[in-house]
Amino acid sequence: MATETTGAPAGAPAPQEKGKQQSKPAPSNTPTTGGDAAGEQKLTPAQLKAKAKAEKAARRAKAKEVKEVAPAAATADAKGGKGGKGGKQEGSQSAGSQQQGKSVPGRRPSVSNGRRPSIAIIKEDPRSSIPECFSHVPMAKRIQTSQAHKDVHPAVLAVGQQMATFALKDSIARLEATLLAFKKVIESYETPKGNSLSRHFVPHVLNPQIEYLTECRPMSFSMGNAIRFLKSQVNKFDIDTPEDEAKESLLEFIDIFINERITLAEVVISKNAAELIDEDGVVLTYGRHRLVEKTILRAKANGKKFAVSVIDDPYDQGGKELAKTLQRAGIRVFYSPNLGGLRAHLERASNVLLGTEAIFANGSLLAPAGTADVAMAASAANVKVVALCETINFDRERVSVDSLTYNEIDPERCSAESFRLMFDNTHSKYIAGVITEFESGTDFAPAQAILTLLRKREDPTIA
């Protein structure tokens, strides 16, 4: 930034402004670049040089900013990849963006203008409009694929874009997409001469991918967990392990991981949870969660007769889709478009099923905003609240007591005119129990108990 101010040409407009202009997504500012060019003609070569320097500084500052934004969610991979990242990363990143600054218009891949092209154009720096009291909360961010690190694999690029636009939304969907993309990364990986996979792959190939994904959207806890497992798997290889064998084993590891922790978990959880639905009862749920949906449909398929109350978040409206799906399956659905109807719905509800994004070490749930209100109102009304969660979503290191510690800002609503946090924190005292794939039968246990169980089961596998 210092270079920026000193190197500013006296006659030119404020240097920061120019820096901002330049850092706007290149494809969108063709008119502005035209204007810039007109201005440039008046400058002397020396001024031009100073200006270029200022722009470079601004770009570098921006690249740095981007890194800072990338939140603490990356802590999970802190063990594995700290060494390789540091200085080298930063240099290559700004170099990359610099290079792209020149060649952008032609290079912009079609992925990024797919879903919501307006966003990138309207917002220059979306974080600037966040009210100060929430400025510590991270936010998903659309990064031009052209601005990404050059080592990022195309499959990962696509996943990153989908995560930034919330096409991949819940923690498990993101985890699965990430793992599948990583499989592609592994398949296309070739160990450079004089290196071994176990030493080279994580710092030089995997970490840039992870970093990019984290920039797109703060990593979900499940992704953090999975990446930790993956890294420890890589570290287990002997330095002399042949590349093919190592790759084969990694691919197999990911396949098994997806099978066990995602696919099978879903089946087991929905099966166990379906048993909790009472005959002739009313199940209340909030928003739309895959596990809850599966559970309800399974209970219906099992021949149970019951009704469902869907409470929706008016700013998300996933619940409406759930309600329609259930209705199509022949289930009677009461639908409340907002939390206002919560108490009325709870009065006839026999139990509450909640989907969660993650569970903290203290048993608190990280779940879509509004879940805490539902859980609290339900336990006040003496309605049993059961959370459904795969064990991969459990975090054993982080503790959260309020919703402002770990959260995300909705990138579409990040200004004072309209502000929204995506998650909230539900205290474990409002949860009767959690159903995970490790519990058998219809039993369910408080979250803390499951954490102990997890520790026992997983400790040997953790490096």
Binding site: Y335, P337, N338, L339, E347, G370, D402, D410, L421
Partner: protein, 412 residues
């Protein structure tokens, strides 16, 4: 002469303007329809009811006090049935009936006691409006804004005393007596109307006591009362307001734009929460301000839907919940049955009619008003100052006659 003939869209404003020109029955009918269509909302309801009862007292034919009481309660019943969830109608009716009983008993006393004028000249002011002595000096001292209204009141008072004075010597004739009663009751109703219109300003007068510099104040679906309260506080304090609502805003539409503009102009930050749930923000919030639709004898509050979410979240984090309510919203009955306190509203804002599948399939329940149990309320901020639950009974006893407390306007 119905308002609909004057314009295609009847509104409360037009109705109130036409009150003097059209027959009583037509006015009542018009108001009933406005209420049924929910075209009169919030604080206007109390005002409209008072206006209508004033017309009943002034225009209808009655020979004695009982007939008058019957007419008033009848009209009240019709209005209350048109808007069964609006407790305020019942409150105003009770107040007016109490007023009539008061005035009547004074006159009766006057008859019995002959010409002890000195006693009477004291009586009329005190028992008619027990609350008057309390707020009057306060209003004069703390509220420069309401001074004009205060003048209005102080004009009416001198008028009132000559009337009472004149009525006593003439009270031998029953019709003259009734005539005097009529004008006294009308004066009383006008006072009630003044009280209703000034309540918001008086409540706002306490704003700077409740809101401190640097506070984060959560206003859930701010009613006009809450808006005035915040604006008044903004004149003296620097704080931040979170505005929350259940309604999803259309793209490009800024929620509460007018309020935000005013607060911004006064240097107070506003943040609109595009969120239905408030637990996430509660650690940041210092206090929650809620506007009441009615306050029950047990301290429970009838509010906009979603307020209990806000209040429950506030309780979870031990943040105070301040309910703003004019005394005229205090309702001397207990809430009948919690379930009946829910009011359902138009679901079409949430499920579009274009979404045929959803329209067919879903039982959409958009609740627009709900009941907030007393344990979630910390302070009731009234035009008489901040109150706690323990003092609600005293206030209600001051404002309603015991005969009217049990008045039920919700019989089938």
């Amino acid at each position: 002469m119905a308002p609909s003939q004057m314009s295609y869209a009847p509104t409360l404003g037009k109705l109130l303007k036409s009150l003097n020109t059209q027959p009583l029955e037509a006015s009542i009918e018009a108001l009933v329809y406005l209420l049924k269509r929910r075209q009169v909302k919030g604080d206007d309801i109390a005002n409209a009811t008072a206006h209508m009862l004033l017309q009943v007292v002034a225009k209808s034919k009655w020979q004695n006090v009982d007939q008058l009481l019957a007419k008033v309660s009848n009209t009240g019943l019709r209005l209350a049935q048109a808007a069964p969830t609006e407790q305020v109608i019942g409150n105003v009716v009770r107040r007016v009936m109490g007023l009539i009983r008061d005035e009547a008993s004074e006159d009766r006393n006057a008859d019995e006691m002959g010409d002890s004028v000195s006693d009477l000249s004291q009586l009329p002011t005190t028992p008619t409006m027990p609350s008057r002595p309390g707020p009057t000096p306060l209003r004069a001292a703390t509220l420069p804004m309401s001074k004009s209204m205060f003048n209005l009141l102080s004009v009416s008072e001198p008028v009132q005393s000559p009337v009472t004075g004149a009525s006593t010597p003439m009270s031998q004739g029953a019709s003259a007596n009734m005539h005097a009663l009529r004008s006294e009751v009308i004066d009383g109703i006008e006072e009630i109307m003044d009280e209703i219109s000034q309540a918001d300003d008086q409540i706002a007068g306490f704003a700077d006591i409740q809101i401190h510099p640097g506070d984060y104040v959560l206003a859930y679906l701010p009613s006009p009362t809450v808006e005035r309260f915040l604006i008044k506080a903004a004149a003296k304090r620097r704080f931040t307001v979170f505005l929350a609502s259940t309604e999803r805003q259309k793209p490009g539409e800024v929620p509460h734009a007018a309020l935000r503009k005013k607060l911004d102009g006064l240097g107070v930050n506003t943040i609109s929460l595009a969120s239905n749930s408030l637990m996430a923000y509660m650690p940041r919030v210092n206090k929650v301000v809620i506007g009441a639709k009615a306050v029950y004898a047990n301290g429970g509050v009838s509010t906009e839907s979603g307020c209990s979410i806000a209040a429950r979240a506030a309780r979870e984090y031990s943040k105070p919940v301040i309910v703003l309510s004019g005394v005229y919203k205090f309702c001397p009955v207990d809430p009948s049955d919690d379930v009946t306190e829910f009011e359902q509203g138009d679901p079409s804002t949430f499920v579009d009619y274009a979404d045929g599948e959803a329209v067919d399939a879903l039982e959409v329940e958009n609740i627009v008003a709900e009941y907030l149990p007393p344990q979630y309320v910390d302070v009731y901020l009234t035009n008489l100052g901040p109150q706690t639950r323990d003092h609600l009974a005293t206030i209600m006893a001051d404002h309603y006659e015991s005969e009217d407390m049990g008045l039920s306007l919700h019989l089938p």
